[in-house]
């Protein structure tokens, strides 16, 4: 049975790319979110096995979204999508409960490695 994924990013381009990488590896993309608050809402509805979370998003940022999600589901498996130069934010996200992170520009192999680690 394939794992289900919720992809959160404010850029369509990024969501598409991540979805493609994961879909090709056999994951099932069950939803997408453009803002942090959407991410929190969709997580509640969809209960995905994995969430990919952009850090900088309008409305509610990725880190706050992680806090919200983890508050309701401490076992939530969230993979942060960050960019170079976001060291402090990534550390903060991990402290908030994110399980791992990948850095843009994405290399499919690294994304999949990180996903494997998160799903354990």
């Amino acid at each position: 049975m394939s794992h289900t994924v919720l992809v959160c990013d404010d850029a369509i381009f990024m969501r598409t790319m991540i979805s493609d990488i994961l879909a090709q590896a056999g994951f099932e993309i069950v939803g997408e979110a453009e803002t942090g608050s959407q991410a929190v809402e969709k997580y509640r509805q969809l209960k995905p096995d994995l969430v990919t979370m952009d850090i900088v998003m309008p409305d509610m940022g990725g880190i706050d979204a992680v806090r919200e999600i983890v508050k309701n589901d401490p076992d939530a498996k969230i993979l942060m999508c960050s960019a170079m130069g976001q060291q402090a934010l990534v550390v903060e996200a991990i402290q908030a409960g994110a399980k791992d992170f990948v850095v843009k520009p994405f290399q499919p192999s690294r994304v999949l490695e990180a996903v494997q680690r998160v799903l354990g």
Partner: protein, 637 residues
């Protein structure tokens, strides 16, 4: 866990950070408005704090912590520091350095940091009255471990190095710490997690982990986090025997695509390795002699193979002992600055050729002579700013310390653009003290140096606390000569002075000419052998009343080793070799009875009995096991 085994590592790394601190403080002093230095100083002090806390050096960690508070405030404030604050930071860095040394020597109690700690706190209170001692609660890992903490218990020290190419290493380090926490109790994280958030976190993290898991389990767990280059687990696990963890002390290094890796090795290991190689070289010499006697091709083959292998081995071990000069030069910018400040002089100090390498044993001895010469340069060489202006010079003097690799030696020069040495004054004083003939009316550079290097000779009107010219040169000269090196001086009135130190690249094994005098053999290092000639076949003359020979229009004074060393035995052959030694501009011919060829010799220091002529630099054991003395070229010249 026995932490003492990490003391040396702690010392070495702390010194690196404190050296960086000094450099950055100097830079900050030059450009107070620049924002970069304070960040770097903060991180360096911070790292020392974390390491000291891990080692259980509470006083060191506490001092570092207070410095860090002040630095953090300055860093956030973004204001150029007051001069007073900078001087306090210099002082605190010195105190930290001293207490690190004391702590490692087991005498942390002797570290007198009370004054500087009080001054740091006062400065902090003045700068930020509201920001009472910054709450440590947010970073409990930073606190020095209380004495009762189970350092001697079951904790293991884990160090992790992330792959150099890993992005956002701080995030990865955070994940590693979290992973470790899932295995047991984590303490004393260095650097503390706050450092993970900075962009220049270098991907190295260490912490103590109290867990019953095996080293292999710990390593596997940490590697599972990803981007891990290396994990080192040291110390005993709970319930494990004392010996069990021992082999883990070896830094496990995964080979990663042939990149060069470094481990730290106790210098004494290298020394004893060198001694062993020395004995091997001696044995090899013996084997070669035997092979030559027996004329057995099978023995010959083995002898040749042993020769080749031992030569390779020797080259490798000498290479392993090579150390870049910056390891000693690194502290000089601070020294020059301090001396200049003390004397109200302005000095721009430049270092060139930092990466040039010398044998560690030589480099270690070089610090003191260089300190003397640099102090002299600031004190006597560089003029006061007003005087320089009067002479049409820039008010800021310049001192250049440069290392250059020459054929078989390294030349280190200290050049200042100061007033130069007053030859007339030195000559007058030398005459008064009877150091030169009364009718000498000019001193050559060589003579000048010899006069200056007389113990206690000083022309300084007043001997300052910094230096009295002469004393330093005397000390420097003795040291450099003992290392088989030489000093030259060049000085020009009004333009400056330059000292050039020439040193052999390595002390341990040198090629030498073996000369026979009567029944004795003597070794002359080839470094200083210019050529050989034949006594009895060349034109003779005298030079300043001394016997000399004429070699290609050059008059070279002679020394008869037989007479000099008072060697008995049969009368020497009428025609016999002269070995011409050369050092800088000076040449001397050494007349010996015969030459026995060239050979590699292993230099052993030797304690010359009182009254021995100062012409020996050491001793060596010949292939047949009989010792021979090594002649010191500088002494013969």
């Amino acid at each position: 866990m026995d932490l003492s085994q990490y003391a040396e590592l702690f010392l070495a790394e702390s010194r690196e950070h404190l050296s960086a601190c000094n450099h950055l403080l100097l830079e900050w002093e030059r450009r107070p408005a620049a924002p970069e230095p304070v960040g770097g100083i903060f991180r360096a002090v911070h790292t020392v704090k974390g390491m000291a806390a891990t080692m259980g050096y509470a006083r060191v960690a506490d001092l570092a912590h207070r410095m860090e508070n002040l630095l953090d405030h300055l860093r956030r404030g973004g204001q150029p520091p007051a001069d007073e604050t900078l001087q306090l930071l210099f002082r605190a860095t010195d105190a930290l350095e001293k207490s690190v040394d004391l702590a490692v020597a087991g005498r942390e109690r002797d570290a007198d940091v009370a004054d500087v700690v009080a001054d740091l706190d006062r400065a902090m209170a003045r700068l930020a009255p509201a920001a009472a001692p910054r709450a440590l609660a947010a970073e409990p890992e930073l606190m020095p471990l209380p004495p009762s903490s189970p350092l001697g218990g079951t904790g293991r020290l884990i160090s992790v190095v992330l792959r150099p190419e890993a992005p956002l290493k701080g995030g990865r380090a955070m994940l590693i710490v979290r992973k470790a926490r899932s295995l047991g109790e984590v303490q004393a994280i260095a650097p503390p997690p706050a450092a993970f958030e900075t962009e220049d976190f270098d991907g190295r993290v260490a912490f103590q982990l109290e867990t019953a898991r095996t080293a292999a389990e710990i390593e596997a767990a940490i590697r599972s986090v990803g981007d891990v280059e290396r994990v080192t687990v040291v110390g005993e696990a709970a319930g494990e025997g004392g010996e069990g963890g021992d082999e883990e002390h070896v830094t496990p290094v995964e080979s990663a695509g042939g990149r060069s890796r470094h481990i730290r090795v106790d210098l004494r290991r290298l020394d004893s390795l060198m001694d062993l190689i020395g004995e091997l070289v001696t044995a090899k010499g013996w084997l070669n002699e035997l092979a030559a006697e027996r004329r057995d091709p099978a023995i010959d083959d083995v002898a040749i193979q042993v020769s080749r292998l031992s030569a390779d081995l020797q080259a490798e071990i000498i290479q392993a002992r090579m150390t870049p000069v910056w390891q000693v030069f690194d502290r000089f910018p601070r020294l020059v600055r301090d001396v200049a400040r003390q004397l109200d002089k302005q000095v721009a100090f430049k270092v060139e050729g930092k990466e040039i390498e010398l044998d560690r044993a030589i480099l270690d001895e070089l610090g003191d002579p260089l300190v003397h010469l640099l102090r002299n340069a600031v004190d006597h060489g560089i003029e006061a700013p007003a005087e320089r202006r009067k002479r049409g010079k820039k008010p800021e003097g310049e001192i250049v310390l440069a290392a250059v690799r020459e054929r078989s030696s390294v030349a280190i020069s200290i050049t200042d653009d100061g007033r130069g040495i007053d030859r007339a004054q030195v000559l007058a004083k030398a005459r008064r003290e009877g150091l030169v003939d009364a009718h000498t009316d000019a001193l050559t550079d060589d003579q000048l140096l010899r006069v200056l290097a007389r113990p206690g000779f000083s022309t300084a009107a007043t001997v300052t606390s910094v230096s009295g010219r002469g004393v330093g040169i005397d000390v420097a000269m003795t040291k450099i000569r003992a290392l088989g090196g030489s000093i030259e001086i060049r000085t020009e009135p009004g333009k400056g002075t330059s000292f050039v130190l020439r040193l052999p690249v390595t002390l341990a094994i040198v090629r030498a000419l073996i000369a026979a005098v009567g029944p004795e053999r003597y070794a002359l290092p080839l470094t200083y052998v210019a050529e050989t000639a034949e006594f009895g076949a060349i034109a003779m003359t005298t030079m300043e009343g001394r016997e000399a020979m004429v070699l290609r229009d050059r008059v070279i004074p002679l020394v008869h080793l037989r007479t000099l060393l008072n060697v008995g035995g049969d009368a020497p052959p009428a025609r016999r070799p002269v070995i011409v030694l050369e050092m800088g501009e000076r040449r001397t011919g050494v007349v010996v009875d015969g030459m026995l060829g060239q050979q590699e010799i292993v230099v052993k220091g030797f304690e010359a009995p009182q009254g021995t002529l100062p012409v020996f630099s050491g001793a060596t054991i010949m292939g047949d096991g009989v010792p021979a003395l090594i002649l010191d070229a500088a002494g013969l010249l």
